[in-house]
């Protein structure tokens, strides 16, 4: 299974953190720092793997890919294929690109919820469920539509409920 998906920028600031087995938040931050420490020491044009057993315990593997200012990091175990995971990183980025049309770091910064929604459509509980970008985009659009609908319906009630709550 996939154990974690982390997106961070080249300053080591996390932009998306999802651990599929529970980690206390301090541990999460520590892991992110450790990974960043390794990532930023690596030159370009090297392989996309990092020895992760010392960070995540035995059987853990890690792939990462760099896009502009962002590192996309996937941590997984022996039931996933390394190259398939690399493809998945690519798929994820392509989907982000479609959802935000020319995705950049700022899109991910300001769309915390949507990025989570997108990721949840691809991976559930550490299992890869959907790799077709069009399917994911379709679902994400539906969800956004629902979001907007519920938001719109709430615009007026919100103020009213605010008043009435007095």
């Amino acid at each position: 299974m996939i154990r974690a998906v982390i997106v961070m920028n080249d300053q080591g600031k996390p932009r998306l953190v999802k651990f599929y087995d529970y980690q206390p938040v301090e541990k999460q931050q520590e892991l992110i720092r450790t990974i960043y420490g390794v990532l930023c020491s690596r030159a370009e044009n090297l392989s996309n793997f990092i020895q992760a057993d010392s960070i995540f315990g035995p059987d853990a593997r890690l792939v990462y890919k760099t896009y502009a200012t962002l590192y996309f990091v996937f941590i997984f175990d022996s039931s996933e294929n390394e190259l398939a995971m690399l493809d998945l990183v690519q798929v994820f980025v392509e989907i982000l690109d479609k959802c935000f049309s020319n995705v950049c770091e700022l899109d991910i910064v300001f769309n915390f919820n949507k990025v989570h929604t997108i990721l949840d459509e691809i991976i559930l509980g550490g299992q890869v469920l959907e790799t077709s970008s069009s399917e994911v985009v379709k679902a994400v659009e539906e969800i956004s539509k629902l979001d907007r609908a519920s938001n719109g319906s709430m615009l007026v009630p919100k103020s009213i409920s605010g008043w009435t709550s007095r």
């Binding site: 938040v25 392989s47 039931s79 294929n81 979001d147 709550s165």
Partner: protein
């Protein structure tokens, strides 16, 4: 605190505002901004307005996830938000739960009903939210309570939901293995789905399950096989391959069946991921199929020559998998492997290093080590140490299995010690001492290497080498009789810069100096015995004791060994009396013959050697010892102080009695007893007792005496004896009371006498022990067996061209890696003492975790359609038979056990549903009835059973017949085999 006001709601900062605010602040002021925002959130989250509340939670999600803030306090608020009717709010709530809830979140049970409601929602996206959340936070209780809902969703007609339910089932199984009984059939049915997404999800689940406990999934092999052959989806194929890589090991006939389809994929597929998975499966599980293996190795080679570093990296990894069983696969690619050692990518270098180490054998260890050392010298410190570390660990594997020429290896250790970045001091220390104890024949070389390390004052300044120096010092002291120049050793041991050493190591230096001193005195005072070959001891000792002591047969053989090298190395190593006399300031060479008694000298070299031990040189030595060690009497380190005290007591005694002795000696008076003489002899003999490797289990073999309570609390003892002495390090042959140091000579004298009694007692005990358990100690074998024909460890050819690895490479790749036997080995491998217990590899049997075991138990139960007992587990053929009869069973024997009935009922209903395309609503009704554990009504639907025209089932029916014929068939249906 005032509740949230309307103003809070109206002017609430949104998540966007928060993010913008965070971006505006400098890292320094960021934390104050965050804590201010957190205060706002704490206020807003209590609002009665759901929108305000959910926005607050949204901000908290953000701060928790990306800034590491605690949000466990908001768990209840998250549940409130989840219960909102508003989709967006619900989503925020679920995100909060999945980010922060865990098994010990106490309010988690409050979520059960809401989850149940959302799982049954008509809105697929709400169902999807609930599934996502459940897969993250699943607990035993949630899993148990929601299993019916998940079961229903497994039969959903919407693949969007179905595949998510399938993925969630995995977590349910992990927490609540009993759910397997309910859901497993549906899971299996989905293997035949036409929807690739569904099959992929199910295969994902089976892959996870099978990797943990493969055996239970053997009965599903036909389904997996069909997918392997039919599927064109790479994701699915990869998962299926992973499952087969586990199953094929368990069932050879299955392996035979799958190997060809896998090869077909390997040939046909353009997807590197799939090809790699095929390669890995072949290499790890199907390597006995030669043609497949060849094909896989070919593919690996393609990976290795690829420009993509990822492929190169994975290719090397794959080779490592196969290196144990089929080394030829590595050897075939050795050129690429060695080239990868100088790759830019540290990962690739490390993999290549491991592979190179896998290729090491006794024939090529010299060459490979030489090449690796030259790489190490060029590499950055981290990789350099990796290289050195793997050389050390490879060479000492299985008690130095691959080392034939220990002289070479010991000098290699010396060489490694001097590599600037070497951080492996501890390992080298261990090996130097270990080799010293285990391999008798290498000791003279060991002493030489130790000497070279010790006489270099520069090394003392490097803390990482201190551990190695301690080994060198110990070796020099323990095997001083093999040293060519004890005086020089003494100087090295006492050199001023030893002050740089940590106290523990300095103590070893002092102790070694003690041993050297005793040796010199003994050689001087008893020249005949030092040279004589017989191990006979002075007659005035109790004969019983004498016989039990077996001194090392050092004297004669050391002379023999020394003879030739002495002449050879006179020039390069400063190894002649003149140098020594210079180093000892002014011992004149001329004095040489004076004090040496003209006994029968066996060889001229022995004379030469004995020439060192003149009266003057001994006096100088004693002076040196006193001069350098006396100041140490004041040290605070007891370990050092104690040992210095011992030496000082001895030197004072000797100085006092030496003139008397000399007088006797000059007059050639026989039989005069001088106290000092006896002490020196006693000490010398004590030090002669060999130290050997001790089995780690030796202690365990000592029976615990009756009435000894090992577990007793000894806290009270502290009050009774406050002054407990530190345990004395192992290199002492016998204990010596701590107090000896500062006492007057006469006292010391007496004491030593007394002690020598006890020491002999100890020695005799040791000797007895040794007799009884001969294998713990080195065999007492005549040293004559060493041939003097040992080539010098470093032949010039080896030492000069360190940087010329281009040539080395060529040489290495062309010749040395070819597995061949060297026609003429220079000399036989020396005896290496082994202890069975230590050296045997203990294989830890890992038991499956209880939950996994429970899952597999339930799986077996479902697959075999019967209650699982351990007996059945052992008799899979029988149970597989039963399993195939499951369909009949439920009709013919409705009075089966309740559990079994439930399973069967479920399986039938699910098939019926599938064939009839039941609508979800109906299913739900059906499921809720099951929640109440009223499984009986399931049976009523059994009539639909006849409806399925599944080819698989037909196949199974066919298989049934075969099973009856072949008694020993395992669980896999035979049509496959």
């Amino acid at each position: 605190m005032a509740g949230p006001s309307l103003m809070d709601s109206l002017f609430q900062r949104s998540l966007d505002d928060l993010i913008k605010g965070l971006r505006l602040h400098q890292p320094t002021s960021e934390s104050t901004f965050i804590s201010k925002s957190l205060d706002e959130i704490r206020r807003e989250i209590k609002s009665t307005d759901p929108q305000t509340k959910s926005t607050a939670l949204q901000k908290l999600n953000y701060l928790h996830s990306l800034h590491g803030l605690d949000m466990s306090w908001a768990a209840f608020h998250a549940i409130e938000v989840i219960s909102s009717q508003n989709f967006q709010q619900k989503k925020v709530g679920y995100l909060a739960a999945s980010l922060s809830f865990h098994s010990s979140t106490d309010v988690i049970l409050l979520l059960t009903n809401q989850l149940r409601k959302d799982l049954s929602s008509n809105n697929v996206f709400e169902v999807s939210l609930a599934l996502e959340c459940l897969s993250m936070i699943c607990t035993v209780d949630l899993a148990r309570d929601l299993t019916p809902e998940i079961f229903t969703l497994l039969g959903s007609t919407k693949s969007f939901i179905k595949k998510k339910a399938i993925a969630t089932v995995l977590r349910i199984f992990e927490k609540y293995p009993d759910a397997v009984r309910v859901c497993f059939k549906r899971l299996i049915e989905n293997l035949e789905s036409n929807d690739v997404g569904i099959v992929s999800a199910v295969m994902g689940v089976f892959c996870e399950l099978a990797l943990k406990e493969p055996k239970s999934y053997l009965p599903l092999a036909p389904e997996f096989y069909r997918i392997l052959v039919d599927s064109r989806n790479n994701w699915v194929l990869i998962k299926v391959l992973k499952v087969f890589s586990k199953l094929a090991i368990l069932e050879p006939r299955l392996a035979k069946r799958v190997v060809e389809p896998i090869c077909e994929h390997m040939r046909r597929s353009g997807a590197k991921s799939l090809v790699f998975e095929c390669v890995r499966t072949i290499l790890s599980s199907l390597s006995e199929y030669e043609s497949a293996l060849k094909l896989a190795v070919e593919k690996v080679r393609e990976f290795l020559v690829d420009d993509d570093p990822n492929l190169k990296y994975l290719g090397l990894q794959a080779l490592l998998v196969v290196s144990l069983k089929h080394l030829w696969a590595v050897l075939e690619n050795k050129d690429l492997v060695i080239k990868s050692l100088s790759d830019d990518d540290p990962n690739i270098k490390l993999e290549a290093l491991q592979l190179v180490m896998a290729m090491v054998s006794e024939d090529n260890v010299h060459e490979i080590c030489k090449v690796l050392i030259s790489y190490a010298l060029k590499s950055e410190p981290a990789f350099c140490n990796e290289i050195l570390g793997s050389i050390l660990s490879t060479c000492c594997r299985n008690v130095y299995e691959i080392i034939i020429d220990f002289d070479w290896y010991v000098s290699l250790l010396g060489e490694i010690s001097r590599i600037p970045h070497c951080q492996n001091g501890e390992e080298i220390e261990k090996q130097l001492i270990d080799i010293g104890m285990r391999v008798k024949d290498v000791r003279s070389e060991l002493v030489r290497v130790g000497r070279e390390l010790m006489i270099d004052p520069a090394l003392l300044g490097n803390p990482v080498i201190h551990r190695i120096l301690s080994a060198a010092a110990w070796v020099s002291g323990e095997y001083v009789e093999l040293s060519k120049n004890p005086f020089e050793l003494m100087e090295a041991l006492l050199q001023p810069r030893t002050i740089l050493l940590p106290p523990s190591i300095r103590a070893i230096y002092v102790q070694s100096a003690f041993k050297v001193l005793i040796f010199c005195l003994y050689s001087y005072l008893f020249p005949d015995e030092a040279v004589a070959s017989s191990p006979s001891l002075p007659v005035d000792l109790d004969p019983g004791v004498t016989s039990s002591i077996s001194p090392k047969e050092f004297s004669e053989s050391s002379d023999v060994v020394v003879t030739e090298p002495l002449a050879d190395r006179e020039m390069d190593e400063g190894f002649n009396p003149r140098d020594i006399s210079q180093s000892l300031e002014d011992v004149s060479v001329g004095n040489g013959g004076d004090t040496v008694i003209a006994h029968e000298q066996t060889s001229c070299s022995a004379t030469l050697k004995k020439d060192y031990f003149t009266q003057e040189s001994i006096v100088k030595l004693l002076d040196l010892v006193e001069r350098t060690l006396c100041p140490l009497m004041g040290t605070h380190e007891v370990e050092i102080q104690e040992r210095v005290g011992n030496i000082r007591g001895l030197t004072e005694l000797i100085k006092q009695e030496l003139p008397e002795f000399l007088v006797h000696k000059e007059r050639n008076v026989e039989g005069v007893k001088v106290k000092a003489l006896e002490i020196v002899k006693l000490m010398h003999d004590a030090f002669l007792e060999e130290l050997g490797p001790v089995s780690t289990s030796a202690q365990e073999r000592v029976p615990i005496p009756e009435g000894l309570m090992l577990m007793e609390n000894l806290g009270d003892l502290e009050g009774i004896c406050g002054d407990i002495q530190l345990p004395i390090p192992s290199q002492f042959c016998f204990g010596r009371p701590h107090s000896g140091g500062r006492e007057s000579t006469s006292l010391f004298n007496q004491q030593t006498d007394e002690e020598s009694e006890t020491s002999y007692e100890c020695t005799s005990l040791l000797a007895e022990h040794r007799k009884r358990h001969g294998l713990y100690y080195l065999p007492s074998e005549k040293l004559e067996t060493i041939s003097n024909a040992c080539p010098p460890a470093k032949d010039p050819q080896h030492s000069d061209d360190v940087n010329d690895d281009g040539q080395d490479l060529v040489k290495l790749t062309e010749q040395s890696l070819v597995p061949k036997k060297k026609p003429n080995r220079a000399k036989p491998r020396p005896v290496v003492v082994k202890l069975d217990e230590v050296d045997g590899i203990t294989i830890a049997v890992s038991k499956p975790e209880s939950k996994d075991y429970l899952i597999s138990g339930a799986v077996r139960e479902v697959l075999l359609g019967n209650e699982v007992s351990s007996a059945q587990h052992k008799l899979p053929d029988k149970s597989s038979n039963k399993r195939r009869e499951k369909d009949k069973l439920d009709i013919d024997q409705p009075s089966e056990t309740k559990e079994n009935l439930a399973n069967v009922g479920k399986s039938e209903t699910s098939t019926s549903k599938k064939s009839k395309h039941h609508i979800p609503g109906k299913e739900r009704k059906h499921k809720s009835s099951r929640t109440n554990a009223d499984e009986r009504e399931d049976v009523q639907k059994d009539k639909t059973k006849s409806g399925h025209h599944n080819p698989r089932h037909k196949a199974r029916q066919r298989a049934d017949d075969n099973v009856d014929v072949i008694a020993q068939t395992p669980v896999i249906p035979d049509f496959l085999l």
